[in-house]
Symmetry: C2
Subunit: 411 residues, 2 copies
């Protein structure tokens, strides 16, 4: 039996935000019993004609069938007069299911295309849940007429809930910006980071805006912002076979944002917020940790060092233990493989300089550092002293809760 | 307060082996109170003239001062008529101690050279324990005359005990082979893998043989064998700033083993045995895990996949939970970055084929797989189906014990 996890102590205090509808997108959910009982497990999003759809996906070489299908289709416009659809199921990841997996994707996308009268190449799917078991796709295709009849532009929160697996809270975020005196809105939701075996740690993200952007413009913007948001977070260094982000620009506002820095900033805010919420729901997490590396010789070095710290079990257990153990940061910098000079290294916990120029800081106070580590949000800065490149990563601590969720059961 | 760890359940049943003395090497230990009370914490090994000394070290970019000093000196022969010495202290790693660290190494090596009448460049040191604190090297240099007076060729077990930090058992191994009808002996000992903060997870290994080899021959053999022994084990993916292995060939047997495959096999057996013992003392370990990757396109791919599995928190917690969760192996293969084809992948737990050609094996039995996972030693085989290269890695499971040791204290 899996351990049931209570609401993460790091969950946003305000609960799920009020997500404004996005003109041109409607949602419906239902409970078809893919695996779970007594909860919704299928989400359908219908997108009006004329929209642009972009995506980023896991780089895993063992990607699930729905991911491969999305990657094949992205950027394809079979008929400009027709809309798009996204269908997501929870309870079964349709991963490592061989040819049957591909057939399930084909069956679902074909049926959605038929019911909504759009080309099959305009239908994207994601699946999250148990792996290695055939997806009972008939249960999903059998519910499509009901789903179609219930499509509603206001149903973003039910959509966010239907895609959850072992998340302890649904994750949503929104921004509205004025561009040329007119409002443009972005609303998105995500699931991820609960991993109760035999489920996978899939992260799924769906972002919708009424802004106007071509598909290549949207793809370029999402890919760029992804590097400093979803590709800058980690819970345990493990990567799902199904991680997917889809972004949809319906154009319904009529406002071209292709050269708007305000829009890009707003999209970045939504993506960062959702990424942070995934970390805040990290398995067993009791602290939210921001690690900033400055003074690196290259961008790659900055990210390599930040992720080495963020993934180090010794760094993460020290934070769980509220121990100002900067020696473990030195260790992580050293093992990262990035260019670093021990005698130029400086490390701060919050505003407290703990190590400077390769040794314990002259006025280091163990009491001050230990007091800082009791905070629920911890900021660690590592300056390499070699250049001017920097990177920020986010992670959580490594606690008994993680072990309980992932080891304390028998299948 | 640090958690006190009981003897690892994976410790060798027979206890510390009887290590034969190696002609040309004498050992002494004493308790100088570097940090610990009531136990030995300094080990001196004196090596007769004419020996060859080789070494391999951590690749960390934040290496400790003793490591940098050893690397500078290795292969240097200032006076062929003089011997060598190795001095190791536990309790303080002399790591991240700036210029003071270098000065401590210089003070110790200078004093050892004076007492034993050998060149300073023939003296190697290692330090293991707390980091970031100056090493009180006067306590060590003040004990050198006593150490010299107690040098004894039979004292290998006391030497193995003096270098321990948080190890739950001392680690020793020996092999004797007949070469041309005459015996050649190898005896070695190691410490490593206990990491109770603020200590580091330093792995130190010392191997002695009476075989005859030039320094380049010994270095080449040790570097080669290291790749499939100490560089093939992992406890938590973290790397110490001080990991060091020194190998000494005294030549006292008079037997040239430079082209002896029997000798190389014996040296490999000692190195593998010591490496496995380090894993068996892994923090919180309850299972010893061997992961073999076959069918890889390249050697690098084989090692990358094996280490991705061996370091994955999800794989290691599944093993702790005795869960035959082969989906987590698929995940680890996928995230490794090595060339892999989902639909060619096969996975076995012991002799049980659990996944084959990209899907659950046709006659997979959950009961049989779950029964296998209850063993204390677990063998996992991953066949990539792409070529004929392979690699074997060793690790332990990830348990509550690891979290307790590394997080359940306040500094």
């Amino acid at each position: 039996m899996a351990t049931i996890t209570d609401l993460s102590p790091l969950a946003p205090a305000g609960g799920f935000p009020n997500l404004p509808p996005i003109s041109g997108v409607r949602f419906a959910t239902c409970a078809v019993g893919v695996k779970y009982e007594g909860r919704t497990d299928v989400m359908l999003a219908e997108v009006a004609p004329g929209a642009s759809v972009a995506g980023v996906f896991t780089k895993s070489s063992t990607r699930a069938a729905p991911v491969l299908d999305c990657q094949d289709k992205l950027g394809t416009i079979s008929d400009a007069g027709k809309g798009f659809a996204i269908l997501v199921n929870s309870g079964n990841a349709n991963a490592f299911t061989g040819r049957a997996g591909t057939e399930s994707v084909s069956a679902i996308t074909g049926a959605v295309a038929g019911v909504l009268d759009i080309p099959q190449s305009h239908v994207y799917t994601s699946s999250t849940g148990v792996i290695g078991e055939p997806l009972p796709h008939d249960r999903i295709t059998g519910a499509l007429n009901q789903l179609k009849s219930e499509l509603d532009s206001a149903s973003l929160e039910p959509a966010a809930r239907a895609i959850m697996t072992t998340d302890t809270f649904p994750k949503g975020s929104t921004q509205t910006v004025q561009i040329g005196g007119k409002p443009v809105t972005i609303s998105g939701f995500a699931k991820g980071s609960g991993m109760i075996a035999p489920d996978m740690a899939t992260m799924l993200v769906y972002i919708f805006t009424d802004a106007k952007l071509t598909q290549p413009e949207l793809q370029s913007m999402v890919s760029r912002l992804n590097e400093s948001s979803f590709n800058a977070i980690t819970v345990d260094s493990d990567t799902s076979t199904s991680d997917s982000l889809l972004a949809v620009a319906t154009g319904a506002s009529g406002i071209d944002v292709s050269s708007s820095s305000e829009f890009e900033a707003a999209l970045n805010a939504v993506m960062l917020d959702l990424a942070h919420q995934v970390v805040r729901d990290g398995e067993g997490a009791s602290k939210f940790v921001e690690i900033t590396v400055t003074g690196a010789a290259t961008d790659t070095d900055a990210k390599t060092v930040a992720m080495a710290c963020a993934n180090s079990p010794l760094v993460k257990t020290a934070i769980a233990g509220e121990d100002a153990n900067w020696g473990r940061i030195v260790m992580a910098v050293g093992k990262s493989g990035a260019r670093a000079d021990r005698d130029l290294l400086s490390i701060s916990f919050g505003d407290i300089l703990v190590a400077d120029n390769g040794w314990r800081a002259p006025d280091y106070s163990e009491e001050a550092a230990s007091a800082y580590m009791k905070n629920e949000e911890i900021k660690i800065t590592v300056d390499l002293g070699l250049g001017n490149r920097q990177f920020t990563a986010w992670t959580c601590d490594l606690t008994h809760g993680y072990i309980s969720i992932n080891a304390d059961y028998r299948s």
